[in-house]
Symmetry: D2
Subunit: 138 residues, 4 copies
């Protein structure tokens, strides 16, 4: 029901383009990840801090590409929480350059905890983490 | 009905890993693209040659991540043509490390032709191109 | 004699790290390029615009790595024109995280112009370009 | 005095190109690193294995770019040990496409050992490691 979202602003760098003169499609997934990590920081948490209790490996990613991004283009990623299950968060991302839809996609991450033997195990997302993430989507 | 496929072999390079000690998920899309391009070469065509008549921008990409890839891991990408429409090809990719499923995904490309005014326009895939690609999936 | 320089601010993104838990050394060259391109923009020019008269391929790059950069680190690149020859500019870059020296390096670019036959040829740097770049190093 | 060297063969992938239609210069450093790591594997050692005693952070990198590499180009990296000091190895790399010199560069790595408190400290390179690396340069 919610349309809470965060906006992440970015400019296309030269090294992100390919010989077709546009951003290589794999970099769109990096842009989406950057936008998500900005939300973690805004929430006062760090998704990738050393010694952190939980990790969030990605289990699925999808993107539909609608228009090209070119060098120096300024664009924004609008990110929301698209779906939550007890152990996963699906982030929904929309990339816009001005009023032009560039791409939309989702990245699903699972909450895991390192076990004493070094392996990782999926665990329930702590309520507090979810609340803090939501509060960062003003 | 077909299970024609091509196999592309690869090793994980150090620069493809991230601080979580595994291949960054965005690189899986590069692996899938490399596997597709190997099929173009095997078919005697080059997808990205200068002066080529058609280009193949990606319109959609998806990947489910099942297991981690680590540095020096040898793996293979098994690629088939998952779906064809008059103007698009959906490539299906399965990444395996030995008997372990690492990831499976699809990348959909649309056949476009540059117009006299420099813009691009989706066009029907020439029959011959499709036949040659299929013949490269032994 | 000049200590004119521009400051480019950046944060380390997750995908820029490697399994050693720090920014992969090849990405330092991308940071230096980003800083240089920011100067081009600030000068009112675009180094990589379509239809531009001159191009600036790199002929040499060097970097000394003094300290690690880690995910989420905020740092800045201080960029100056280290040396100019009739056809080349050597950019000098210093990366700092607060008061900590992270790396210092140079990237040398040559001014080339596309010839009627499609080949490129090194040419003298137009005076006006150099003046505009210098004026962007406030 | 030695001209012992190892040859690493590679093809340019699409995602390694930039909008100028050639390999982005930062990727040359990745090619050189790949060539070095191939030597470690050939020597029966793994530079980046988990639980390894020594690590080899890069302290300096340099490259002179002589000719462009384009998509699908096949090239090789010829790697030798250019210089050794008690704690560092300088790798020398030459990239060739057939008889055409593409680039030459060096990457210097220092041998470090993790200390009980988690910090790292430069240490003398074990003689045996050096001998094994040299024996891999047939």
């Amino acid at each position: 029901m919610s349309n809470l979202a965060a906006i992440y602003k970015r400019r296309v760098e030269f090294a992100e383009t390919d010989m077709a003169g546009q951003v290589h499609f794999s970099n769109f997934f990096r842009y989406m990840e950057e936008a998500e990590h900005a939300i973690w920081r805004k929430s006062g948490m760090r998704i990738a801090a050393e010694g952190r209790e939980h990790q969030w490996p990605r289990i699925s990613a999808h993107c539909d590409f609608k228009n090209r991004l070119k060098v120096d283009d300024e664009f924004e990623v609008r990110t929301e929480i698209a779906k939550v299950s007890p152990r996963t968060i699906q982030w929904g991302h929309t990339l816009m350059r001005g009023d032009t839809l560039i791409a939309s996609g989702t990245v699903t991450a699972v909450c895991v905890k390192q076990q004493p033997d070094g392996s990782i195990k999926a665990v329930e997302i702590p309520k507090e983490i979810l609340e803090r993430l939501r509060s960062a989507l003003a």
